[in-house]
């Protein structure tokens, strides 16, 4: 059975934000804003963090000054890679169709 790597857009943005190293909540929102131009609300962010943690795609590290950083797990890396590959194939197909018109 193929692994299910489906996730919401906020969850994907968090995985991308954590791809270059651990971050806490505020740092994630800043990274997401910089990368995608989207301002993610705290409720949405922590809803997605909880979901990702339950899936085992991210894990919490020791709290630093009351802030708790998160990092990608091995499964999280695999999920992000699979989703990015999928999006790349989708983008390529979209560009090809646009070029035809």
């Amino acid at each position: 059975v193929a692994a299910d790597y489906r996730c919401s857009e906020p969850a994907l943005l968090i995985l991308i934000a954590l791809a270059d190293g651990p971050k806490h909540g505020y740092a994630m929102t800043q990274d997401i804003l910089q990368v995608s131009g989207q301002q993610i609300g705290p409720g949405t962010l922590y809803g997605a963090i909880a979901w990702l943690e339950e899936r085992g795609w991210i894990e919490a590290l020791e709290a630093e000054d009351r802030r708790r950083p998160y990092q990608l797990t091995k499964d999280g890396h695999a999920a992000l890679r699979a989703r990015v590959d999928q999006l790349r194939a989708l983008t390529r197909a979209g560009h090809a169709k646009l070029a035809d018109t």
């Binding site: 919401s8 409720g43 949405t44 922590y46 009351r66």
Partner: protein
């Protein structure tokens, strides 16, 4: 004013795990209507999806709609099919409702305060099945017995479409259970 108070909108178990770091993020975010709406939506979603409150809310909504349909049928067709069976046969929906009301109370006693704390995500599959079944039955039972108490039912209380609606919707809820579970899971993924 600090935004910390918004943390209190979340279920206790969630606050215990994420409350402190979430409060820090809230403090770093300027308060706005958008922020409050975002937190309200997120907290409401958690209450519905992560606590045992969710199935009851869904059950109550389904029950309310079904009762309105039954009320319409009562007006259109004053004699319900159950009136042909006599009082004892026609009364059984009420007893079933009462039975499931009691079993629902048992679930609450068994699960204790976790019903409202957001720990239900850890329930076993068997407990989930029992939960969904009782949640829907109890919703109807509440409305049914509530309508009796309020004198909303006619002089022959068990001869109405409402009593049939109790059974029909309760059976429907059991049949719909797999769909409801998968709907729940798809909502969680969003």
């Amino acid at each position: 004013m600090s935004n910390r108070f918004l943390v209190r909108l979340y279920p206790r178990a969630w606050r215990h795990r994420y409350g402190e770091e979430f409060a820090l993020l809230l403090e770093a975010t300027p308060i706005s209507a958008g922020l409050v709406i975002n937190v309200l939506a997120s907290a409401g979603r958690l209450w519905l999806l992560r606590t045992m409150l969710g199935p009851w809310v869904i059950g109550a909504v389904v029950a309310f709609v079904a009762m309105q349909v039954a009320q319409g049928l009562q007006v259109m067709f004053p004699t319900a099919p159950s009136s042909h069976y006599g009082v004892w046969f026609a009364a059984w929906p009420g007893y079933i409702g009462l039975g499931f009301f009691l079993s629902c109370a048992g679930v609450i006693l068994w699960q204790g305060r976790s019903v409202f704390s957001g720990k239900s995500a850890k329930l076993s599959n068997d407990a989930e099945i029992l939960l969904f079944a009782t949640a829907f039955f109890v919703s109807f039972a509440f409305l049914y017995w509530g309508s009796l108490a309020n004198g909303l039912v006619s002089e022959k209380p068990f001869d109405t479409w409402r009593s049939n609606a109790v059974v029909a919707a309760a059976l429907l809820s059991l049949l719909m259970r797999p769909n409801i579970v998968s709907f729940h899971e798809s909502l969680e993924r969003r």
